[in-house]
Amino acid sequence: MSVPGYDLIVIGAGIVGAACADAASGDGLRVAIVEPGPIGGGATAAAMGHLVAMDDDPAELALARYSLRQWEAFADLPEAEFSRCGTLWVAREERELAAAAARAARLAAAGVEAQLLDDQQLYELEPELAPGMSGGMLVPREAVVYPPRVARHLVARAQSRGAVLYAGRRVQALRRGGAQLDDGSSLSGPVLVATGCALPALLPQLPMRARKGHLVITDRYPGLLRHQLLELGYADSAHGDADSSVAFNVQPRPTGQILLGSSREFSATDAAVSPAMLRRMLERCFAFVPALRELQALRAWTGFRPTTPDGRPYLGAVPGATDQWVAAGHEGLGVTTALGSARLLLDLIQQRQPALDPAPYAPSRLAA
């Protein structure tokens, strides 16, 4: 029996794997994609789809900025449901507003336009915010997308260039020079593992924790909110190491629906919606936008963010292995940074000079 050979076997068709398969096929590589579930059915389906530059880690900011430029190519793609609502960071206290000035400067230095707002400007943009806010920071060019459909689009585009999708197949094990599938067959060629939270099943030497999050979506209320809204303290929740935390993070979908987040939990392993966590998260949202209380919620769900010990993704060669690559561990920024991650990784695989310094993302930094 002959073993099909590829230039790159992409394992996992979440937004990151899909972007890698798309980039690789665009480079002319013969690509295989192996995905046991629906395309974009894991963290990608659970995500908010907010394209956002976080400035608290220079390496994350560089990757986000690089990736956001590539997202512009999807602004007119219907499947992406791209909506340039901008990001509005809300300050509850003067102290937060003062810190926002430094953040705006860091973003500006990275080429991301950001404007500081006083309280009056803030309420003009979002009249439903609770009284007493100090002001905010508007990042006007940021946008939201619908990640599962983008993942499908990227896989379909790769397929149109000849990539082969092994749908419903799971990679059982990595083998020297390829991968073994759960139906007993094998594929040969370099592998790229983009399995997110499931990374330890194939690469146990790379530490990964699943960080649970909750989201709720409402019926349609067009015009109620206009921007993706976050509290300026969001990074404390996102990048802190508390076992559980919540932050105000609310998004108007292009449909008029409101998507509400966010929560983070390390120790919760079951996917069930936790009433206690949901309560904490929603009360946080109500504190910023009281009108949310009376909206009709249609669905609540959870997802798991693949989280590395330092919060940065693994992008690069698997330490000590030959022809094994990894792109995983993007925590809450997988959608934002998927396109840039793919580009960076393909540059490394193809031995081109990457546009970014790859060192901060090198898997060897944390390999056990």
């Binding site: 059915g41 499908r152 509400l260 009433p275 309560r279 009709q296 919620a297």
Partner: protein, 429 residues
């Protein structure tokens, strides 16, 4: 705000009324909740113009000591308690035993024109009419399957509608075979005869289906096909229902095992109506469509069981088995046929919440895959209409539900009572 009951019954139709009355007669503290404003469920729904049937009046009058919680909608399960939403706010109800008497809903299947205003379910139009929907003088076509069509027609006629015709999709042979079986069920036969008498002069056609509804802002003309060909009929309202499917969403949320055969799931129960979850019982249509008599007797069994009187429950089992056999008879003779399954075209909307066509679902392997790609089932009905229809059409089974059980205020999901006074009481308990 937390309320505690020995026995909590969800659904105030015939099964739930019987369960609540029975458990209360044993001295249990019983709560009986329903999303509707009045007890009675679908079959005994309160009629604003007509007196209720005697059995319904008696069942409701028998609720001594039962706390009737109308307009209470179950939203979620929280650590062994039910979170309910009311028009005023929300509450947490705890229970020693729970009886799921969640009943059934109508099987509504897509066909070209089914989204036009004026097109509704058959039981749907009956329910609307009982609650004051103006039908006097309106020309109504009734179609679909099963004895519910006759009941709907009788209600509509009693409210002054002109029933133009009743179109049963089952073949004449199938309906006649059912009628012969009725000889073994004298009470049912009498009921059927009385319905027919009330519908004197209304054509009742077999092997006859509505293919298409036409109209601009509302239905005006329907295309009806039978063995002799297709005819167009003018009407003001079209009511089409293909029988019933069990409401299992709450059972599923609680983790109760479901039986998925053959097409639509029902709650799995043992002989004494115990579900797979301890202290949770199920009765009536939720356990599989069985009809009114089965619902009433199962409600009583579940009421005995939930209040710890298994011996009294066992006495009722032969009666229950007989009632269930009638339900099986209905399913056998009125199941929608392949002509009905083939009515929707690729252009027909299947998901009415998100306006997704049947054709848009081609190539998707399961409900979740299709939902992520097309939004089918993502809307307010949470897939109750489209998911059930797709299962009936043989596309794929309905996807697993997500909380809340029904759309609910965000304040309810946050566990908040809405009014400030309730907030205060919550913080002190």
């Amino acid at each position: 705000m937390t309320e505690r009951y020995d026995v909590l019954v969800v659904g105030a139709g015939p099964a739930g009324l019987a369960a609540a009355g029975t458990a209360a007669a044993h001295g249990a503290r019983v709560g009986l909740l329903d999303a509707q404003p009045r007890a009675g469920g679908q079959v005994w729904r309160h009629d604003v113009r007509k007196p209720a049937p005697r059995a319904a009046r008696e069942a409701i009058a028998a609720l001594h000591g039962v706390n009737l919680l109308a307009q209470h909608s179950v939203i979620a399960s929280e650590d062994g308690a039910l979170r309910v939403e009311t028009p005023e706010g929300s509450a947490l109800l705890t229970y020693g035993a729970l009886v799921l008497a969640t009943g059934a809903r109508e099987l509504l299947l897509p066909f070209p024109g089914w989204t036009l205003p004026g097109v509704s379910g058959a039981g749907g139009l009956q329910a609307l009419t009982k609650q004051g929907w103006p039908v006097a003088g309106k020309r109504v076509v009734i179609a679909g399957s099963g004895p519910l069509l006759l009941a709907a027609a009788a209600t509509l006629r009693a409210h002054g509608a002109k029933v133009v015709g009743i179109h049963e999709q089952a073949s004449p042979d199938s309906v006649h075979a059912f009628a012969r079986q009725l000889l073994h069920w004298p009470a049912r036969a009498a009921q059927a005869l009385s319905l027919r008498a009330r519908l004197m002069g209304v054509p009742y056609r077999f092997g006859s289906i509505v293919r298409h509804a036409h109209g601009e802002d509302a239905v005006r003309v329907v295309e009806i096909e039978d063995a002799h060909g297709t005819a167009c009929v003018d009407c003001d309202l079209l009511a089409v229902g293909y029988g019933l499917v069990p409401n299992v969403e709450l059972a599923q949320l609680l983790g109760c095992a479901l039986d998925h055969a053959p097409t639509h799931p029902h709650v799995q129960v043992d002989e004494l109506l115990r579900t797979s979850v301890p202290a949770v019982f199920a009765a009536g249509e939720a356990c599989g469509i069985g009809g009114l008599a089965a619902a009433r007797i199962e409600g009583a069994i579940a009421g005995h069981m939930a209040s710890g009187h298994a011996d009294e429950a066992r006495v009722l089992l032969p009666e229950r088995d007989r009632a269930r056999r009638f339900g099986a008879l209905l399913a056998r003779h009125f199941a929608p046929g392949s002509r009905v399954h083939a009515l929707a075209t690729p252009q027909t909307l299947i998901c009415r919440c998100e306006d997704v066509t049947l054709g848009a679902l081609d190539g998707y392997a399961d409900a979740r895959d299709a939902k992520l790609a097309t939004r089918c089932g993502m809307g307010a009905c949470q897939g109750r209409i489209c998911g059930t229809a797709l299962a009936e059409l043989g596309r794929f089974p309905r996807g697993a539900g997500r909380p809340p059980l029904f759309p609910a205020r965000l304040a309810t999901l946050a566990g908040l009572a809405t009014s400030p006074s309730d907030d205060a009481s919550r913080s002190t308990t």
